[in-house]
């Protein structure tokens, strides 16, 4: 028989090195694993994280791919497993399987303008892409980050965003859906930032991550701005369970999102996203 492959269904055991609270119910976990060399990942990929005794959920990498020993995941407490993950403290064990799925098309972005559009927690899977773009800044044209959040206190990675806003080689625009004073930033949905942004439609590649409705609106707004569906990429959310395309839970039409996604070209999923309950 062939040399047995490593079992993709068995989690490696990692420990929480540190935790960082990002906002209400949102926490970034930094992990340490004894994996040597570390697995590495492509921006946009995800791990399956196990809270032992509770269950397993797919969580995107949110750290810098250039620092493979600093595996970071940003988790929002929305269900039993993610709530258990958010409650973990430094030193606690957790299970890790992955990396799984497709990444953002950064090779395709070389020489082009890139606009990253994040909604809510969608900033987390885009952050590794931004790190990588900034890490090889000269390889790309204009870089723009448009970020919409629910309210001012829901803005994640606040300090990092403030630092990025001072850069001259990156445009950062943020908006919130709802705000009471003293917020002085934009109020309005993230698509309003797209309408205001100026980009060269022929040169631009758009990377979009957020709730599905937000991504559909964003893709439409980008389309209205002249960007072709082939130049728009979305990160889909479905019920990823196994990560290897064998459990069937994450289907969207012909896609097995854990295997063929989560990052997909909008042209490939546009029709499927328009069918309700597909």
């Amino acid at each position: 028989m062939d040399v047995p492959l490593p079992d993709p269904l068995r989690p490696r055991i990692a420990r929480v090195r540190s935790t960082h609270r990002e906002g209400p119910e949102v926490c970034t976990l930094e992990l340490e694993t004894d994996q040597d060399p570390p697995a590495g990942f492509a921006p946009g990929q995800f791990n399956m994280l196990t809270a032992f005794g509770v269950g397993e959920v797919p969580i995107s990498f949110s750290g810098d791919p250039a620092e493979p020993r600093r595996v970071r995941h940003t988790v929002r407490a929305v269900g039993a497993v993610s709530s258990a993950l958010v409650r973990l403290h430094a030193g606690a064990p957790l299970g890790v399987r992955g990396p799984f799925g497709t990444g953002w098309p950064l090779p395709e972005a070389a020489g082009r303008d890139v606009v990253l559009i994040a909604g809510g927690l969608g900033i987390a899977p885009l952050r590794p892409a931004l790190y990588q773009l900034l890490g090889a800044r000269s390889r790309y044209g204009r870089l723009t980050l448009l970020y919409g959040a629910r309210g001012p206190r829901d803005i994640l990675f606040r300090r990092e965003l403030d630092a990025w806003r001072t850069r001259t080689d990156l445009t950062v625009e943020m908006t919130v859906d709802h705000a009471a004073r003293p917020w002085h930033g934009h109020v309005g949905v993230v698509t309003t930032l797209i309408e205001r942004a100026r980009f060269d439609a022929q040169r631009t590649l758009a990377l979009v991550c957020g709730p599905e409705i937000m991504m559909r609106f964003a893709a439409e707004a980008l389309g209205a701005g002249g960007i072709a569906p082939e130049a728009i990429f979305l990160s889909l959310e479905r019920n990823m369970h196994c990560g290897i395309g064998t459990c069937g839970h994450c289907q969207l039409g012909g896609l097995l999102v854990c295997r063929d996604g989560p990052v997909v070209r909008y042209a490939r999923v546009r029709d499927a996203l328009r069918v309700r309950e597909l």
């Binding site: 269904l9 290897i244 064998t246 597909l278």
Partner: protein, 372 residues
Amino acid sequence: MSSQMNSAHVIDVTGFNHLLGWLGERGYRIVGPTVRDGAIAYDDLAGAGDLPRGWTDEQAPGHYRLRRRNDTALFGYAVGAHSYKRFFHPPWEALWHARREPETLQAQDEPSSTQRLALIGVRACEIRAIAIQDRVLLERDPQYRARRAEVFIVAVNCTTPSGTCFCASMQAGPQVSTGFDVVLTELCSADPPVFVVRVATAAGREALTAITHRAATETEMAVAESALRYAAEHMGRQMPGADLAPLLRRNLEHPRWNAVAERCLACGNCTAVCPTCFCTTVEDTSDLSGRALSRSRRWDSCFTAEFSYVHGGSVRPSTRARYRQWMTHKLATWPEQFGTSGCVGCGRCITWCPVGIDITEELAALGADSAA
């Protein structure tokens, strides 16, 4: 391939028993059809006596009964609710367990069975189903791969299709053409029956050599062929011949989905009996102290609300969407994902549906309206 492989031989029931004996001596766990709880079920066989000798089945949408035959045929029935899926991709299995101590946490794989498996009486639809599951799981799932490693298949050409069978229109049967070691065609013109035998592998030839056999006569071969022809012509159902994937893709909002959803109970029977449905879910458990941890995997069904759960709720809250998912996956998106249809035409989903929903009828209805 030697001429002996292509040529036809004949064995009798004694020879068949010797074949089982030969397999048993080689350490094979022998599994095949047997009568249990008023239905054909797959279970361990000690000998030909455990087969459903003299039984046949009566199948229709939502209907299954065993009836006595007026002979002693060993394979005179179609498939029951079981498929061989359960032996390679079991309904439940432990994946790993772990022990949490104050300072450590250690996970261990569950030991996987490596026993050789001999499947007896495997129909063409079952063989196609195994090939389809291989496409989905063999390269990706180590547990499945381990169970598929050493398998001996004694296939049976199906001469008794049921009222819900449609393998002929799925080009999956009734004749077995690949994926077996030995294939039998039962000749019921004799009572007790005899079997026309062909072998396809070295292991199959070795088995045949070890048991009493003789060359098949021209008449016997002709009878076997005509029995297969008869079976192909007497399928209880037929899948419409149109290209199914585009037809389904065009009709994702067809009103027929609403109609079928009014009947469908979303019970998941169709997915449980389907020989190709592969979906699973995992469950984590711990003891009260939180120290003994384990993960298991079990069959899941796209008919449950939890199946498509994303944070906040189900992607497919309606029965309409779940039935559409099941059927379009089977017939339209499966080819996209795995390069093969997900349906073999075994008819189980029709027979075991408590309200008798018929996949061939549903597809015909979509096709009829959209052509108009």
